[in-house]
């Protein structure tokens, strides 16, 4: 009894320590973000003096208004949403379909290693922007939504990760299914996928984040600002104060309401929104034992 109790106390004490360390870590991660949010909601003149801490000074939404001021915002938002939907769907499709055969042993799938090394090769080597651009141009994809989705639909990194998760699934479960007469497609769909929800959620999150936040390809592959996805649109929204043309007080006052600092901060907040929304939701799948337990039950 005493033995039991002391173990319980140790566990509790240790949990306290762990919780404290984790809290500190989380806090250190949260501070800069709170600071960023506060700056994004502050009057530019105060933000510029570097005196905004965790609470907005002279609360204003003008930097967000600036973000959404132009008609292009809605369009860009729509393009981004389409891109994320299409990108995640396509990305998950290729990741699952490629990772599954590659998770087999060479005995079950003789050419597996050749495919595998091919994949690793494409992950490591690339020839830079110019040839990549030229190929997308030659395929006639420039200035289309497909240019944002197709070239990055296959992520070797995610595939290898997924493959590794697939490998962790006990062989016996698959064998039992084959005994029941299931083919390769059915094994994948009915055995592997339900067992891989946490990893699928992880990969989906990575793809989503990547698509939502990638501004560079929009910058290079889209020819018109009206075709930009949201992050590219936001990226180009700097306040370009051209002192040689500012003539009247009105323009200047407008320009001073928002400026580099506050606008940049609000851009960041926007870039984090989908993760804040989606991540806690996806995390349901990370809760230990949920999926395996369900199958076992």
């Amino acid at each position: 009894m005493t033995h039991h109790r002391s173990r319980f106390l140790t566990a509790l004490r240790m949990n306290w320590w762990i919780a404290l360390i984790l809290l500190l870590l989380a806090f250190s991660c949260l501070l800069p973000i709170l600071n960023t949010v506060a700056i994004s909601l502050s009057n530019q003149a105060y933000a510029a003096t570097g005196r905004v801490g965790l609470i907005p000074v002279e609360f204003t939404l003008s930097s967000y208004e600036k973000l959404m001021a132009e008609a292009t915002f809605g369009r860009a938002f729509l393009i981004s949403v389409l891109r994320v939907l299409l990108g995640v769907a396509l990305g998950m499709l290729t990741t699952i379909l490629t990772a599954y055969p590659l998770s087999k042993s060479t005995r079950a799938f003789p050419l597996r290693n050749a495919y595998m090394w091919f994949l690793v090769f494409t992950m490591i080597f690339n020839a830079g922007t110019i040839p990549w651009y030229m190929q997308i141009r030659n395929l006639g994809l420039l200035n289309t939504l497909w240019a944002l989705v197709l070239p990055c639909a296959v992520s070797s990194y995610n595939i290898i990760l997924m493959m590794n998760f697939f490998r962790g699934i006990p062989r016996e479960i698959e064998e039992a299914a084959i005994m029941d007469g299931a083919g390769a497609w059915r094994v994948l769909l009915q055995v592997y996928l339900p067992l891989s929800l946490p990893s699928l959620a992880t990969i989906a999150l990575f793809i989503l984040v990547q698509h939502w936040n990638n501004f560079y390809d929009g910058l290079i592959l889209m020819n018109k600002p009206s075709n930009y996805p949201l992050q590219t649109y936001i990226y180009q929204l700097t306040v370009r104060i051209d002192p040689s043309t500012i003539s009247d007080a009105e323009t200047l006052r407008e320009a001073l309401k928002v400026s580099g600092l506050t606008l940049n901060a609000s851009k960041l907040v926007v870039s984090m929104v989908p993760v804040m929304v989606v991540y806690p939701f996806l995390q349901r799948y990370f809760v230990k034992g949920l999926t395996l337990g369900a199958v076992k039950g």
Binding site: N126, I130, M272, V287
Partner: protein, 296 residues
């Protein structure tokens, strides 16, 4: 018979992914010839002048090439090590927490810095490291002299590595958390019955359970052995710390500002790729040989 049918299905599954790879990865790779050219956009990839290994020779003949390579390697390798160790620790700690709410919140929060760009973080870090910033205030509380961390060759790399680890550990933690959900719950249950301590549980069940993921992450990160973090260093360095902080990418970037040196940039990229490939192949065979474990 069954087997052949399954193999056919496997090939079929691989088609979409590999067609896309060929289109967007393999075909453009012919552009690697740029590394051997004095590339002039107006002459195109196939019309530019072939100069053989000149771009590579130039890279190694830079008066500072030694310090640049050293900086790159030291920073990159330190980052890789930290990126491997810290997330494992955090994931293990999170695994010990029972409260689902607490776990979720912490996980979400530590993943957030991953989304902050270095441009924004640069400002925050500069402020924290300034003479009257929070770090120096702490230094002074303990009786030390304030230090200009970002202008000191003794401190610059440490700041770079620390802040990068802080920014990215949440990402790795997510992967390990996902791997940990794959561990068979019954193992823990029987450990409990056997009266295993917490440390024993972690050591004999959790760690082996995610070991393959750790090894995998280690191998994949070898591809970054010459990527010391371009954007981060660009926002934090200054000429005073060129000595310890100037890396390959920042140097090439400075070369490219005025006139795009595509030949040189491609050569640097190719060099990095070849090195990473060698390291990955090496680790693949080592793992196979010594641990009888196939990474890929």
């Amino acid at each position: 018979m069954r087997n052949r049918k399954a193999i056919a299905a496997y090939h079929l599954m691989l088609i979409p992914g590999f067609v896309l790879l060929i289109l967007f990865s393999i075909i453009p790779m012919s552009g690697i010839v740029i590394a051997f050219e004095k590339f002039v956009p107006a002459k195109g990839i196939w019309g530019s002048k072939w100069i053989g290994m000149k771009n590579f020779e130039y890279m190694f003949s830079l008066p500072d090439s030694r310090s640049i390579f050293t900086n790159t390697l030291v920073i990159a390798v330190s980052k890789i090590l930290c990126q491997l160790i810290v997330p494992v620790f955090v994931a293990l700690m999170l695994g010990e927490i029972r409260s689902v709410w607490f776990k979720r919140t912490v996980q979400t929060v530590i993943y957030l810095p991953h989304f902050l760009s270095w441009v924004v973080l640069g400002g925050i870090i500069t402020n924290m490291c300034s003479l009257d910033g929070i770090v120096n205030r702490m230094v002074m509380v303990f009786g030390g002299q304030p230090i200009m961390f970002l202008a000191s060759n003794a401190w610059f790399r440490k700041v770079i590595i620390l802040t990068d680890t802080w920014k990215e550990f949440g990402f790795g933690t997510v992967i390990y958390m996902a791997a940990m959900t794959g561990i068979d719950e019954t193992l823990y249950e029987s450990a409990q019955i056997d009266g295993a301590t917490r440390m024993q549980r972690i050591w004999y069940i959790t760690l082996p359970g995610i070991l393959s993921t750790i090894v995998l992450m280690a191998t994949l990160s070898l591809g970054n052995v010459l990527n010391a973090g371009f954007e981060q260093i660009l926002t934090l360095y200054n000429p005073l710390v060129y000595q310890t902080g100037d890396i390959l990418d920042t140097y090439v970037y400075r070369m490219g500002i005025e006139n795009a040196q595509y030949g040189l940039a491609t050569a640097v990229g190719l060099l990095k790729s070849v090195l990473s490939m060698i390291l990955i192949i090496l680790s693949y065979y080592m793992a196979g040989r010594f641990a009888n474990y196939s990474i890929f």
